[in-house]
Each structure stands twice: as C-alpha cells, then as structure tokens.
Assembly symmetry: C2
Homo-oligomer: 420 residues x 2
C-alpha cells in the first residue's frame, strides 16, 4: 500500500521550524507496512495546497497530512480540501461543543475565532483530538484515503495512534519485522567487518547502521513470508549479532547507555563516586538524567582547578607539578580521593585536554586519562587519544568513563588491563 | 524570486533519517530573499525523481536539490536529471582526476565505483566539492535554475555557501532584514504582553517567537523599501525590544546562555564554585561546554548523597536531619562549603526534588532551593517551584542557577532578595 505525507506551513518552507512530524509519520507508516513514496511540504497558500493534494492523491492509496487546522486566517487546510472536493465547508456542531467544553474546563469561554476549527468539508469524518482543540478529519480524494491532523506534534501523534493507525493496520499485510540494537565502542566499519556474512547466512535479512554519536544503532530488517515468520527470522539474526558483538550491544531501542550503566550498579547494590576534570560534570549529568540515580551516585567532584584537585580530592602537589594535571598519576589520585571521601564501592576519574586550547606536543588535544579505584583492588588507569573537537572529545570521554563503570561493576577486564 | 527544495532518499521517506538539509536550505534561501514555496522529499526511484523535478521546475525560478549523488546503485539523481533533459550522461574527467587525487591523499586508490560520481548530464556545470568526493552540478530545467548537491550536510552546506548562494544573491533584491534575540526568564505570553504595540509603532516590522526550551528566541523581521532601510528599521525595533525587556534578552543568534554567563565572570576576573544536587552536574556540564571555562570554574561538587554533602561540603548533620536535604538551610551550607573549599569569589548551590519520585506534600516534585555565597556578603537563598517532568525541571533549575550567577557577577539583585 502506497502512502504520501504532506506537511503544511509557511514556517516550514521558510525553515523557521524543522519539521519533525514528517520523519515520525514516515517511520510509523513504514512500520505499519506501507511504502512511503514522497513527503511534501508546502506553504500556507490555498492554490498550492490544492495542487499538492491533487498531485499526490492519484499516485498513492493513502495521504497523511499535518498542519493548517488552527483558528487563524492563515490556517487554510480545511477550506482548501473542501474547494478541491467541490464541497461546502460545514460547521460541525458536535466539534464546537467539544471545543467549548475544553475552554470551560480551563475556566474560560471559547474565543469566537476557535469556531473556525469546526468548519470542515461536508463529507469529512471527524478524527477526535483528545489533547487539543483542533480535531483531525478524513476524506477521500481521487480514490486515496486522506487523513488531516493538526501540526502540534503531541496532538498529531495522539490522533495518528488513536484513529489513523487503527484504520490502516487491517488493510496492510505486514510482511517485515524490525529489531533495533544499540551499540557503543566500535566504529561503523568495524561493525560491518564483524558482521560480514550475516545477510548471506540469513536470507531475507537486511542490516542497517545509524550513527547517533558516539553510539551506532543496528537495525535488523527481516522480510519472510508473513509477520510471524519475519519476527522469528529477525530474532534469529539478532541472536547472531549478539554472539558476534558481545557487549558492544548494550541494549535495544528503548535503552539508553546511562540507564544501562546505572542498572548494572543498582542491580548489584554498588555505589559510585566520580571525579571529573575535562568532562566538566558530563558523566554525572548523564547518569543522573535517569531517575533512581540517587541510589548509587554518592558524589561527582568536578575539579577543574588544580587547587580543587588538591583540596577536595587530596591529589598531591608534587604529582600535579611533576606529572601534570593530565596524567595517569593524577587520574589515579583523583579516583582514590573520590573513593576515600565517600566510601563508595567504585570511583572513576577523568582528566584530559578537551581543547581547543591547552594541547602540547606531548599531550595533544584529545589526550584523556581515566582512573578506576575499587574496594580491595589496585587502582587502574588507562589512556585514550580521542578524536574530534571539544564537544566530541567530551562526549566520547564520558562514554569511555561509563563503559569503564559498566565493566568494573560486572567485574570484567578494564581497558588497558592485562588479559586474565 | 520563487524557490523549491527537493531532498532525495529512501532513508528520508522511510523516516530512518530526519532531514536537516531541507530546513537549513529553507532558512538560507529565505535569508537570501527568495520565497520558498515547497519542499519535496522523494525516495530513490528514477520516475518519481523525474516527475518531482518536472512538477516543481515550471512553478519556480530556482530548484535546490540534495542527495542521490553517491557511488552506489541507488544513487540516481544524475541519471534521472539527464533522462528528464533528454541528454546523455557524460563522464567528466576533471572530476575523476579530483576524486582520484582525494583518494591518493588518503594513501589509497580510488575504488572503481567512485567513477560513477563523475557521470553527469552533458549540459551540467560542476559545483566543486572541496570537502568530499561527489561534486554538485547545475542545469536548467524548464527555465528554472536547478542546483544539485550531495546529501552529506557538511558537503551540502559548503557547496551551497561556495557556489549556490553567490550565484543567487546578485539576482535577488533583498527587501527584508532579520534580527534574532535570545531570551530567558519570561514565558511566550509574558513576552507578547510586554511587546504589545511594537508592531504598530514600527510599521513593516513583524515579531516572531520560537521556543527552544527553556529559552525563547525573538525574531524581528523588518520589510522596508530596500535592504538598507530594512536593516535600519530592524535595528530600531530591536532597540525598542531591548528597552522593554532589559536583560531578559541575553544575546543574539550566535550567543549561548552558558557562554554569556561565563563571559560575565571572565570579564570581571571572578572565580566560581558550584554545589549541585538534583541537577547532577548539569550546570557544570553546560558552563564547561564553552572553551575557556577553566579560567573561572574552580569546582563543581555534585553531592547526591547526604554523606557527601556532609563530608565534602561540611553541611551539618543537624541541618540535614532538621530541615532536610531540600531546604534553604542546606542550600546555604552547600554554597558556603563550596566557597570555603576553593576560595572562589562566588559559589552557587542547587538542591531540589527533580522527580519522578521523592516528592512530598510539603516539598512536591519541582521544589528547588538555590544558594548564593559571595565574598563579603551574606549568603542568599531562594526557592523556585519548577513545572514539568524530571528533564525539564533539571534543565530549568540549571538555567535559574546560571541566571543567579549572571546577576551575582554583575552585582544585580538576586531572585527573592529585597528591592534596594
């Protein structure tokens, strides 16, 4: 079943707003099993809206449109559709009643301009909007099933999920299944090398790669005879990916790396202290973005100044003078200091040169030392030379630190440590 | 002059990638003075690419297209254009030479598949790509000037800036001018109220609002007779906005709030220490995202655990027991402790309930206390009840803290302090 997406609004054609609805709808329609052939954005102009709809509708089975259903004079979707269909606009009184109720529930009277949102083409079937004033509607244009929704993403998504998807799903024979796996620690070409031959071993499977720096998402798309067979095939191929990549795969689509790292600590009842220099609090900010982080994170000491490294964490002045703030020795003492202060089971430190200034021949921008101090074990340090600009170096360093926390929590070998 | 944007790629129509090029190009073309009438995205299908171009070109003066210029079999842009124009594809040998050079400079030979990127329509004029292998090209389609560029954003932007914008600019009579102002601290409706009457007082000026939580960007669009008059009108209206809004406006389009706050400290040679609880390092991470933050930030103590509040910052156990970790008293002692540890000129603390758990009747989710300790002044605390979910509460709290740092650095009245 073929589909096209139409997004309406001068704020979009002028680039004042980046359209998120189009990509979201494309993803949803593709997941439902439709082939999205085109996405078109046009400005708020009656003739161009009509021409866009008239051009798309004969090419596809389904048109999904967003935007232009508001109360103002430049919201022209309903009247453009009515004009295209040669129908009058009709005031839908049940819609008015609902909008009035909504305003009253907020303790106010409906502004007269809102009545415009109830003026819809005569043949329109209403798509209720439980979270806003403008309802969506559905009409048939040149044989295509056309759905119109407001442009507010929250309202659009709700109407799509409540009314559009259920109308389309029974008419599509879904023959594919997708599994998303999230990875950190290998480059795209490394992953591709490690996965050589998977597509040949599992006919019907296509692998996709999508970078969200510094993560890479793997997509396993399986197409077998029917939905059930596709699901089974995708699961088999995903199991093979797990075998080949091990814990480079840290979770599925809904997991986040900080969430997974936090879970490793919480599940084991372990506590954590952090000592950050060049990452400036980024590791702490990431770990605490997940609720429940107060269960394990005792302290994140962001010690930018050498004086703070000394006073707060007890890094020795001789160490700072002799080896510098960016050194394995300082990283070790930062981690040990953070652990001593808090009695945490585990302490991890980061000190490096994020740039753009501060690099030297010996320690260029991107030089980052990590320290890991644990109860009952020798403090471990390792060095990474990270590529990119300040933002990427900091982001990567935060991920390397979280990866070290994950490995330490599980009792696995740390980077740079001798193999057991 | 009318323009249309065409973005090509099945990864876009399937929603696997959110197209950023379209909005970027729309913004650039609008700034150049063109009217963008439509943006169209189609999948990698020869007939649909031809039909899209054939449909758009007669409607506009300029078509700008991205994508489908790569070396693989599903990159179909050049051959679709040639077919639409009824021209053969010609191998451009100067392009091949450049691609080969690029590969050699990386110490490798050009893969044979790359030669495809030099196969362009006979009438094509090359648009050089200094940062990648695929060049852009320019042809005339039904009277419209059509520019084709690769989809890699970095390459597309470079080619647009180097070749497309200079070709278009002399042909447009720019009659408008835009100024962007960034604000924090007032809601959109507050801003609108404060700016009532500005559009009437400055005919030709339109004000726009664009929310990037928790900031709101104001856009002053001025249309006068010519470019110079528009620029002058925009500047006059912007001055009026500055008069009305004061330091709610923190900068222009290229400023960031952390950058502005850091500048206030650096310009005055002031040092800063932070003590964060519920924001988990977010304030430090934001301030240190800007280079040069090591000049002023001495310490950010993220003290999640009460034991860390006591041991690291010297918050008294009686205070934590009697008033709780989320209290004005704890906030004050956190700020004082951070200042004592570092001798910083200024120390700011944040302690609150970010949720989703941890709220009580007395201190519901969103309750956040701030402390400000300064050399030679009494420690000041204030309370904010912040709306939203965990992410929004943390983000807002970080902004409130940065705003307090800005005011303290400038010696201005702090929130909740008595008016002088």
């Amino acid at each position: 079943m073929k589909a096209a997406i139409l997004t309406l609004g001068t704020e979009l054609t002028r680039g004042e707003l980046v359209d998120q609805n189009g990509a979201w709808l494309a993803d949803e329609l593709t997941s439902l099993g439709l082939d999205v052939l085109a996405q078109l954005t046009v400005d708020d102009d009656r003739e161009r809206i009509k021409r866009a709809l008239g051009g798309l509708a004969p090419e596809v089975d389904v048109v999904v449109a967003t935007g232009g259903l508001g109360p103002t004079s430049d919201d022209l979707t309903a009247e453009s559709v009515a004009s295209l269909l040669g129908e009058p606009l009709i005031r839908h009184h049940d819609v008015i009643d609902r909008i009035q109720q909504l305003w009253r529930s907020r303790g106010r009277e409906m502004p007269p301009s809102n009545a415009k949102q109830a003026d819809l083409p005569e043949s329109a079937q209403i798509l209720p909007n439980p979270v806003g004033t403008a309802p969506g509607f559905r009409v048939t244009i040149e044989g295509a099933d056309a759905f119109f929704m407001p442009g507010v993403p929250r309202e659009m998504r709700r109407i799509f999920t409540d009314s559009v998807a259920p109308a389309l799903a029974p008419r599509v024979s879904r023959r594919s299944h997708q599994i998303h796996l999230r990875t950190f620690g290998r480059s795209e070409s490394d992953l591709a090398d490690a996965l050589t031959g998977v597509e040949e071993a599992y006919p019907g499977v296509t692998l996709g790669y999508r970078a969200h720096f510094p993560e890479i998402e793997l997509k396993v798309l399986a197409r077998a005879g029917d939905e059930l067979a596709s699901e089974r095939l995708a699961a088999e191929a995903a199991a093979e990916l797990h075998r080949r990549l091990g814990d480079t795969i840290f979770g599925d689509r809904d997991d986040t790396f900080p969430g997974v790292v936090g879970r490793e600590l919480r599940d084991r009842g372990l506590t954590l202290a952090l000592a950050e220099s060049c990452t400036g609090g980024l590791v702490g900010a990431k770990l605490t973005s997940v609720p429940g982080s107060s269960d394990f994170l005792l302290l994140d000491a962001v010690v930018y100044a050498n004086s703070a490294k000394e006073k707060v964490l007890g890094v020795r002045q001789e160490t700072l003078r002799g080896h510098g703030a960016v050194s394995a020795e300082t990283a070790a003492q930062m981690a040990e200091g953070a652990r001593r202060l808090t009695d945490a089971d585990l302490a991890v430190s980061i000190t490096g040169v994020a740039g753009p200034g501060g690099g030297t021949d010996e320690k260029p921008v991107g030089t980052v030392y990590f320290g890991v101090a644990r109860a009952g074990a020798r403090t471990h340090t390792f060095l990474r030379n990270l590529p990119g600009d300040r933002g990427r170096i900091r982001e990567l360093a935060a991920y390397v630190a979280m990866e070290a926390i994950r490995r330490a929590a599980r009792g696995e070998r740390l980077p740079g440590a001798p193999k057991a």
